[in-house]
Symmetry: C2
Subunit: 467 residues, 2 copies
């Protein structure tokens, strides 16, 4: 029997898709950047089925591409056209198996979406803090395999810090049960760390135990204007100290980005009477009642103003006002599409280097292409800047986007020079797999390849991705 | 030249010790449980020297035992008498290289003690939260290599969660520079995680970048009495929610442990008029002023009393009172020595299973040895119980301690049956290296050995430890 037939026999009629039209949505990256091919989309219903499928592929030397919600931004979840790889989608493994309110943990299958996990936590009076724009489709297994970030990383960390244990199917089809719900366990190498952020190249995450947190009693939101990025980064430690480290949002917004939003989003309003070069969106999530939290925030902002760190501030007086302020930040990506081509960079540098990075990178790209419009924004509380470059007004978009790699090199060389990361959140996948060799030392690349060869000697797990 | 002579030439006269009397302190575990042998104690002054020493050992096939402050509790830092291993001590690499207050990070060498790091953070108006009894001697490199825990893990995590980047010398002598100060970096496998908790079996951590936190503005301490352990664990989520997750201490104290302290520690006072079977020591570290924090704590304790979770409570009104309450907890280990032999277990189970674990394990050991005195205490906010067993009154201590392994098996079998960990904090070292094979699956043991073989094919890095 050929491998697809073996797999059909393992999972049964409900467990596979082989009609091209029905396979199409699984093979296309949602922005259309990557288009894949596969002989079969397999959707196992259990860890045991995943293990049988992987065993068959290992025996036959057939490659496997694991896929969750197909929301990845670097193509890790799309098979290469030439590989004849099997696409293994985990959507059917979507059960929440246990919520333990004393241990503050949830045990669940990899195919549960982040939104489902968040609402299950909320129904239980708890918080699961990882929030992404794609959380309605993005699945826990994918979020683990890509070490997803998103909002609130500042307070709660990335997915890596939210996972206590995992179950994974190894490249030879064996099931590793590391499904522990323990906050302390020093009994050897922390193997789960290899699968977290491993992009499915070392095995397939099938189940996990994740942490829950108390739901905040109050959340306060403010937008402040700052003279420059240096003042924004100086504001961070001041606010962390003043709030007892209960900051959950610290997001940079440049004036040009705000203007894009005001221009393109109906009903969007400039938060302040005067115009300012930079803004920071601030959110505090507290265990105290709103009045105490807001008073503390206002005291801190007054202190920041006295130090000259902020020039103006708007504190949301209602949920509606808070949502309106967040909308100014959350629309920044979308509105760039309406300003022509945008060349994107998801980078991180030490927080102390953000101001210098933005200045250097903006000058460098402007020197090469006068009129280019840098729109640096995002999670600067984590050192993470979405350094997006909107095309010059009136330039041909195709001609501009044709220079994507040229600008990536300019920006990423500066990032590397400042000991930063060329992929803070999104991973390497196939998009940055070759580019990373330009920035990581030969020693580090060799260490990564050594780990890959040791755990996946046949090279069948998501080949051509990450390493 | 033989290997010791090669190493002498590399590090120079200040860099080695070969006089037996002077080597002795490095070769003896501080409780006297392990006594090692070595041809040479080498104390390199730089990463480059460490790399040269390791290269020489790799070429000659000589084993290396890395050592920090020699405070480990499982013998990982002591060479086996028969191995003729070189002992590589990092004490001379004790420089703090950079404190970045905007990035909230410290870059330092592995030989810096935890106490030195803590006071450097304090001088900068920050907190480095990892606190251990041995922090005056314990070094950062050792704390990373053993993923040290200690107090405040509940709020800040173990060492793994406090490390952003490391530099390590690999088993072939190459230097891997992963010394990044980034909170977000998704550019491949998170290699540092293998060295954190790797107990020096995959390489030698020579430098690190660790996180700083805002110093709390107020700390409030309380001792509460609870009817049983189940009420203690039910109290935890209530307090986490009521304090906005600012709990930094949640420590179980059994009546028998308190009585040992009252009996043996001059000036120790029973915190409450009545006697209670169990107590919990609670500490909150807050960004708010003391009056607000204490009011919030008292409100939460009243709510807990209404639910029947606590029977009495004492809230410290001064630092002196807080210290006195902490002393009751911190003396629990020492006073056991004065009650004869103590057989120790450093275990973790899901927090929801702690009450059942203590009941089952206490019954099991009592059935085997009537009169044995279980003294379960410690970090139950992390699921971590120090399940120590004091000998029956009047029994011969040597005869009792001779049954150490027998009781370990009884207790650890119950821990394993409840999906727990037989080493929550202390690691495996040589003490639990064989025992762990009784509890970890063959698949997991094989994964660990695969990683070890891949990174240290010659097996020269701390052989016979961990895996």
């Amino acid at each position: 029997m050929n491998t697809p037939d073996r797999i059909r026999a393992i999972v049964g009629p409900a467990g596979f898709i082989d009609v091209p039209a029905d396979m199409a949505p699984y093979l296309r990256e949602h922005r259309g950047l990557y288009q894949g091919k596969t002989a079969l989309v397999v959707k196992p219903a259990s860890t045991a089925q995943v293990a049988e499928v992987v065993t068959a592929c290992a025996q036959d030397g057939v490659a496997i591409v694991p896929q969750g919600g197909n929301t990845g931004l670097v193509g890790g979840q799309i098979p290469f056209p030439g590989d004849n790889a099997i696409l293994l989608n985990l959507s059917r493994m979507n059960r929440i198996q246990n919520i333990d309110l004393l241990n503050d943990t949830v045990t669940l299958e990899a195919g549960v979406t982040l939104a489902t996990l968040q609402s299950a936590a909320q129904d239980a009076g708890r918080l699961f803090p990882l929030h992404l724009a794609s959380q309605g489709s993005a699945q826990v297994g994918g979020a683990i395999s890509t070490n997803a970030g998103g909002n609130a990383v500042l307070r709660y960390g990335m997915m890596r810090e939210l996972v206590l244990g995992i179950e994974a199917v190894l490249p030879d089809g064996q099931i590793w049960n590391g499904l522990r719900g323990l906050r302390k366990d020093n009994t050897g190498y922390d193997l789960k760390q290899l699968f977290i952020g491993g992009e499915g190249t070392l095995g397939i995450v099938t189940r996990a135990v994740v942490k829950l947190f108390p739901a905040p009693r109050s959340m306060e939101t403010a937008m402040v204007s700052v003279p420059g990025v240096a003042e924004a980064t100086a504001l961070l430690p001041l606010l962390r100290a003043a709030t007892g480290d209960q900051l959950t949002g610290f997001e940079l917004v440049p004036r040009i980005g705000l203007e894009f939003v005001l221009k393109h989003i109906p009903g969007a309003r400039d938060p302040m009477a005067a115009q300012h070069p930079w803004y920071v969106l601030i959110e505090i999530s507290s265990g105290y009642e709103s009045s105490i939290t807001r008073a503390m925030l206002e005291t801190a902002l007054t202190a920041a103003a006295d130090k000259g760190l902020i020039s103006d501030a708007v504190v949301a007086k209602s949920m509606t006002q808070a949502k309106a302020l967040w909308a100014l930040r959350e629309n920044l990506s979308d509105v760039q599409k309406l300003e022509g081509g945008s060349i994107k960079h998801d980078v991180a540098v030490p927080i102390s280097a953000i101001a210098e990075f933005i200045a250097r990178a903006s000058a460098a790209v402007t020197a090469v292409l006068p009129g280019i419009r840098p729109v640096p924004f995002g999670h600067i509380g984590d050192g993470n800047v979405h350094f997006n470059l909107s095309q010059p007004v009136g330039m041909d978009t195709a001609q501009y986007l044709a220079r994507w790699d040229e600008f990536n090199n300019i920006v990423h060389d500066i990032v590397a020079d400042m000991d930063g990361s060329i992929s803070a959140e999104h991973g390497l996948g196939r998009m940055k797999r070759d580019e990373i060799t330009r920035y990581k030392s030969a020693i580090e690349m060799n260490l990564m390849r050594t780990v890959k060869r040791a755990l996946d000697p046949k090279g069948i797990m998501n080949p051509g991705k990450l390493v």
